[in-house]
Amino acid sequence: MSKDLSQVSMEGLKLPDFVGCTLYVNLHNNRILKGSLMALDAQLNLLLDHVQERAGDGNRRTLGLVSVPRKTIQAIKVPQAELNQLVQFKRNLLKNVV
């Protein structure tokens, strides 16, 4: 079971900070995509690159550059470790700026 957002500090993070990040996107039929976030728009349609797919039957394969419309998305997830790094990076950045 993935962690709930309330359990994690997202302090100071904004959407642009996730660009380049590895996302795990849950779709229908237990399908999961893993890829680097290249772009997103205000409707939260995502463009992921170097996408790997895990189908409902467990079959894994590579798909390359994939666009994921918001309506198809059930959940967007980020590895805890990567999220921590993002938060830390942002914190340091802000500290230096101040």
């Binding site: 893993k34 976030l37 550059l65 999220l83």
Partner: protein, 773 residues
Amino acid sequence: MDLEGKLKNLDLEFNRDGLFQDGIMEEDLVDVTQFFDDSASSLQTKTIIKEPNFNLFEGTHSLEVENKKLDSTSIQLTPAEANFECNALYGSDEKHQLSYVVGILDRLVRSVVCWLNDYQTLPTTVLSCRYVEHLLLESEKKGQLVFLHTGHPLFDQILCSGIYGVCYFARFVQRLLKAGVIFEEEDLNFNGMGLNFLSYVEDGNSILSLLQESIRIASLCSDSEVLIHILKLLIHLVSIEKCLDEFSTDVSHLNALIEEATYLSQQPQLSNLEIPAGSFSIGIQRRLSNQFPPKSLIIPPRNYEGFIVMAQDLKKVLQVDNANTMMEIMQFANFFNKFEQRHVLARALFPLFLIRDNRTILGRYTLSEFTHGHLLEFSLMCTMEVDFPPEITEQPLMEAANVLFEWYQNTSQNTSRYRQGYNRQLLLWDSLQAQIEAMEVEWLSKDSDAAAIDYVEMKEGEEPTPLLPYTSWVYAMKVRAMIEFILKGFDLQVYKPFETYTMYWYTYYLAHQWEICLKKVQKFVDSKINAIHGLNKKVKKSKSGEKRELLKAQYRFAMDNHMGQLQVNKRFLQYLIVESSIFKSLSIAQVFQFGILTSYGLIDNKSPAKNNFTTNELLYNLRMKPFCSIGVPELLPYELMESTFKEFVPDEPMFTIKLNKAMECLHKELNESKLNVEHILKCIQGGDNNGVLVTATRLVKSEATKFYEGVKTSIETLETNSKKIQSTLGSKRSPSLREKYAVQLQFCEGGSSFFPVLSLTSHTSKKSHINQK
């Protein structure tokens, strides 16, 4: 095993857990959906956040999930396709089992034709076979060939070996593609879906043994004749790689391939064969790595003839090995792929067979010998520079070899890339000319004896010009490339009808420049031939015995070593001069025809499209852009094109007289070009010992004949078309003609695509034609 394979094995050993075997488990993930939703809701509607280096244009190539046209995961398979079991035995009895195996192999082999001859993709043809996918995946895991376990040799042995035969042949195709002489998607599709095409198999012998053994087993079954023929066909397919591995010119395998394909194409029972349900499907596009949208399954037509085309084209390529001279190699390259595009494998094989990995040409010439040979057979023979020490000439010859190889590689390209290749070559030839000319002048100026420079006196009383044999050859190659570049534009329908005048006017200019260069070299060759004959006269006149003997020896040496080549060079140059004359005549005829049509107000050399953002001069400069950085022949300015154009348009006063004069000139040029083409055709048929022209087309006789026959057909069509225009339009101009007719560029059947016809089409028929469409 290649590096990729080793890495994959390492990856297998290091088997990690997690959703994607990346060590990350579900509980390591944080759900940020709500955060993303909340943040996105505060963005302005048109906002796009993107990675700074990412170009959104690339995004247009992305695959959209849950879009049936783009998402291969949405492919729906039938239960038989989805659950197809390769290790099951299909067929209730031996007869049915045999029928299934023949059916699968027949379809697979025909899929190869669809893939290579019809430019279909690999996943929709060969890889649509479930057995191919299964065996390649399983074999890769083990790093060796694995077999089915149905318990029946028809499947476990024969079907497997047949499939490995096809896969091994695909590996050879992949090798040709990786050599970089043909292009993915453009020439053929090798979307291997991440499968390893038998890289762990050392050579074809193991596959050949499997196939031979399968033939032995098959021969024990009754009614297995067709199966044996399919297996034999596969043996010959697998053996094709010898053309590249051993540069073997033995065509017995190709002949046998043709025989097998002919036999199989005559077997009507093959069309009625069933295959196990689900054995061919588009499932692989859903199962394996795939960066492309779903594509429909290709049902191969009954088409074994495709193998015949392939084998014949490969045999043609191997014939280049019989070339005796550089002229023959060059003419081979010039014609073998010119009139009709050859099979993709033949086009890929040609440059690899000619220019070999061991840096030799056909295994016979070093790179500099090859280039030097081209020069000797054009302009270098009997010049002062022919004896220059290699330390001086080596470097420029290597430079020239690189550009010459570009030319050779380009000749086997597909019809569209062929023109692009010329475009790139123009700059290479031009910069080579600049380098080599500077070097040549330097060599000659260093020589204290000014008489060392070879001069040519073009006309009596005129200042002689230096021959510069190296530069002359490069220049001739460059101008020829420029002509091909322009004329190929007509073939590819790059030009609009209004540009016809400009492009043919320019072709005429280039052909004229080419002709001047050729005539200069020929004049020099002539002078050398005359000098040798002169020696003989001197021998006869000489009274002193010692001097006489010396002259006699000189004469004999020249006759034995130089005269033969000089005569061949002279006649080959004469052939090129006749060809340049054909280009000139046909180009100017097209210019006259354009002028006549302009005089009736039916066409103009200016763009008919009204556009505030461009001018006709800009369009002209854009069209001539590939030539703008070329030093010689210099780019002709727009103003000159405009001023000469007016001279080709008959106008008042005395319109009718001027029109008749233009018609007369047009027909005179067409007649002249027809005579020249017939002359060349006669010499091609007669062979090079005709004493007039050397065409060096011995190895490409039928291809060269087809090309010039095509030009002849075009000349006849231009003639008929011009008469038709004349009779339709009469000799009086009228503004209403413009409402009635339009001018189009049309290709004539069997004609040369370099010279399409400016034909009249009536507006009414054009409209009805569009309506019909």
